[in-house]
Symmetry: C2
Subunit: 571 residues, 2 copies
């Protein structure tokens, strides 16, 4: 531009504005811009000089900044011996030791944390909130003879959600801090380095994720704060999961797994890993995902059902498995996932399949009581957001166990119309749950002896049904099978299985939805019983369902880290 | 036929043999057959009468037979109060209590077991071997005033592998039994019912499965007994798994999982469940299985790598996962499976990624020592079949940790030719394992600081490499990454990961096999680090590999309950 402005100017403007020389006004403009550029260059030089001077005079220049790519600590950083590393959740406990708080000037600590927020009060004072592992604390960055205003400015502009390394002094605040979990201590920052910098504009705020998901049709702002939909939260799941109640949900979920395994191991069960890739759609062709498998195709397991039974036949006696299961159901409801975690068990029993039911009841009580004992804080935290009644357990420890026929009677007495052998609809299940709660005071109960016709082909008929067995009748009698319910919703299905190969094949042929009886997958399954199998039973529990119903979450997706449904495969 | 024979016979046979009346010879034949049928009917009637008489005179008729379909016990069976139920593995312990052995006539017990074999000595005496849970005992069925010859015959003809319910008297045998694990006791059968009958001809024998799989080319009979190939065993896996050493292998495998979880939980790690169904082939398009997912497609996770990192970014701090992972590698080797179990962990660390390495070393030592303590019997049992040297652990507890460059030097000193930044071949890895064993006396060691160029894009370069970073050079320096080895074979790969989003994107673009940097799956992955992530590292262990190498198994398929390879999807 400057070069062009110095060209010779013709007297008349030739046609074709783009090719013509500069006009008078253009010349003026160019001159102005030249002047502007020179000024800018001067200003920049001045600023750089000032900055250099400021840096050289910045007494704190080695005390803040960004850590290198690999997050290595500055060599000047105090060693473990000089200053202890204490993480925020342990801070209160640590300073419960009075000897430490008496150190002159208060005790020094080094910790890593994320920044909940940062704001400057003045050029000389900034406040930050650090958090880690559910604990948060207020921090003060105050300019002094030992701490520069530059450092105050830097600290006040660290983007929220950044991960930082802090060296500070822990002191009692003038008055308790209300907005943090640690209220009687605050940190006076001495050094602060950014380990992982967050972008200033994130697609959503953690604070927005800490309110309940909106009920459909109520997706407007409340109290001037935006309502973030479930979909937006799931799209930004990493930020969403930082919300305190989400941390609690997944602590509880892991707690359920740990309690499940602890109980079953203590009873002599062995953990197993059965295949997810199957050669045939063993449990029925519907709702099964197909996989390209080299030159052929495979199917994803809908449950470890057939394999856990085969392992009982293989003399494993008592087995359990925790693993993903897949359902190709095109259902976009609040209760369905296409991938979820199955908690499965299967066992030999001695005399009667109620031994299995009793063990499963004991297992569930162990899990519920374990959650009460070990996860009371997390449960309360989630329930403070998703308000729900406390989960009521049977007072005497005896789980209500109702024959299916009694369930039907209770529903009829309450005005529902249904036949002896009808399957229950979801509303009917919930209704029955409410009736059981009213009568027995328990949110947890077992429905036993389901009609044979509405259970899978491998279900053992009751002795009475075997005696008068008529597969042609839709009212083919009852079976040694059971469902477990929490708050009126099914969490587990189980049964005694047929362990006699000939009868199993007969049932496969008779079953209303025949499952390719001679198919490869079932050929191996039946062969297991031809080789001599003990009588056995078991059950499969949906992990996400337990978590959802324990906490009263409005959607099962909230109990899955990265939920999968027909419309969602990411993140 | 009989009716036809009584028709009037024409003098000449009309043409068309099928329509003509019976010939003379046909009449003769028919008459003979009539006679035969009458004889057969008589014989049958006589047999039935005899059987009825035999039954009515069978003093033991209520003491043996087949249980009904559901395996319900006969009502005449002694109650728990009358006769205790003691399972075979507890029998020795139970009769260690001298007061019981002094009961008149010896103590009665009721137990369930499978039949290892059954043979008749004479019409009055049969021997059986019962087994359960690794214990076996000899049983005697002797005809007497209280036990019929019919019952002796029935017991001697129960097919091997059947599951039975037994009421018997436990006594000391005249001399110790050599072929059973319980040698100083035997059972005198009082009642025996078949709960699950095995077919007389099974496709393979458990005893045949209790010898090592044949080495290729040596598939002939040894000592007159058939050698059963791996393929036959896997085709009949339920029978194969009944072999004692297979029971031991999977007890050990579950032990590894339990120890892995126990250690990590004790260190504050949280169990997670990440999705197996992914929206994009995140870790590279090769070797990934494709799934039909409603109107679109999905991919099966090759590892939980990206998700466990995203969860560390989501403030989960320390996570672990045990779950199936899938590799669409068309490799039919003794070391590859298309589906195996990943033991994964990922964690924040404070100062240096060697904190992660140290924790992983401690984890592996915890597992190895746990196996030594808790699974010595199982380990010895498997090693008695697959002979292998004891697994040597570092004596002082300090795991040899060698920089990659030192590994190269050792190999070169041993005569191998390879460049500074070359990846090791499998034979070179085994060679190095042997050299380390020789030098450090340990079958377990760590190779640290691998060349950057041979690691995945998310691997953190070393500080030195960052300082002189030149991605164009094939010798781009080293990285903060490591492999763990057992007996010279890799069992785990891990690294410090890049937690800076901008640098991660740069590395993705530069990486030799670019992984669709703007693809959906990786978009969410990078977004996790844009939201502020701590520095972190971790590793992924192949569960089946640990089991295989701990026990010295010749094929990784032996460490999978139902192995999957490019040619096998069943059972």
């Amino acid at each position: 531009m400057a070069e062009q402005a110095e060209r010779v100017v013709p007297l008349t403007d030739p046609p074709g504005a783009e090719e013509k020389g500069p006009s008078k006004s253009a010349l003026k403009k160019a001159a102005k811009e030249k002047e502007k550029a020179e000024k800018a260059a001067k200003r920049q030089a001045a600023e750089e000089a000032q900055k250099k001077e400021a840096e050289s005079s910045d007494i704190s220049k080695n005390d803040y900044g960004e850590l290198p790519m690999d997050g290595a600590w500055p060599s000047e950083f105090p060693s473990k011996e000089e200053v202890p590393r204490v993480q925020l959740p342990q801070l209160l406990e640590y300073f419960g030791d009075a000897s430490r708080t008496e150190a002159p000037g208060g005790p020094h600590v080094v910790f890593r944390a994320s920044v909940e927020n940062a704001r400057s009060q003045s050029a000389k004072l900034a406040f930050l909130v650090f958090s880690r592992g559910g604990a948060s604390i207020q921090a003060v960055v105050a300019a002094s003879d030992e701490l520069s205003r530059q450092m105050v400015k830097f600290c006040s502009s660290v983007p929220a959600e950044s991960y930082v390394l802090v060296h500070g002094l822990v002191k009692a605040p003038k008055e308790p801090v209300k907005s943090t979990t640690i209220q009687n201590l605050e940190v006076h920052v001495k050094k602060l380095f950014v380990e992982g910098k967050a972008e200033a504009q994130l697609p959503m705020q953690v604070a927005d994720a800490e309110r309940p998901i909106p009920v459909e049709g109520e997706e407007e702002a409340v109290d001037g704060r935006p309502i973030v939909t479930l979909s937006t939260r799931l799209n930004n799941r990493v930020i969403d999961l930082r919300a305190k109640h989400n941390q609690a949900i997944f602590a509880i979920k892991d707690g359920v797994v740990a309690l499940f395994e602890e109980f079953l191991r203590s009873k002599g069960f062995r953990g197993i890993q059965t295949p997810r890739l199957l050669g045939s759609a063993s449990e029925g062709g519907a709702n099964v995902f197909e996989v390209k498998y080299f030159a052929t195709k495979a199917f994803l397991a809908q449950s470890p059902q057939l394999y856990k039974q085969m392992l009982v036949a293989a003399r494993f006696e008592k087995v359990f498995e925790v693993g993903p299961v897949f359902r190709a159901e095109n259902s976009n409801t609040a209760r369905h996932l296409t991938e979820f975690t199955g908690l499965d068990m299967e066992m030999e029993f001695e005399e009667d399949y109620h031994e299995v039911v009793s063990l499963l009841e004991e297992l569930m009580l162990f899990i519920f009581n374990g959650l009460k004992d070990r996860y009371a804080r997390e449960t309360d935290l989630v329930r403070s957001i998703y308000h729900v009644e406390d989960f009521r357990l049977p007072s005497a420890g005896a789980v209500p166990r109702l024959p299916f026929s009694e369930g039907i009677s209770m529903l009829r007495a309450a005005g529902e119309e249904l036949g002896d052998f009808d399957d229950l609809s979801t509303p009917q299940e919930k209704r029955l749950g409410a009736l059981v709660l009213e009568k027995y005071g328990s949110d947890f109960y077992v429905l036993d002896e389901f009609p044979l016709a509405i259970r899978p082909f491998y279900t053992m008929p009751t002795a009475a049904t075997q005696a008068s067995y008529n597969p042609a009748s839709p009212n083919a009698g009852y079976s040694n099978s059971y469902d477990f319910f929490m708050r009126g919703q099914e969490i587990m299905s189980g049964a005694q299985r047929i362990h006699n190969a000939a009868f199993l094949e007969k049932r496969m042929r008779e079953h209303e939805t025949p499952v390719d009886p001679m198919g490869e997958g079932l050929r191996d399954y039946v062969a297991a019983f031809r080789a001599g199998a003990p009588k056995h039973g078991g059950g499969g529990i949906g992990l996400e369902r337990i978590v959802m119903l324990w906490l009263g979450l409005p959607n099962v997706r909230l109990a899955s880290l990265f939920p999968r449904d027909p419309g969602r495969l990411t993140p």
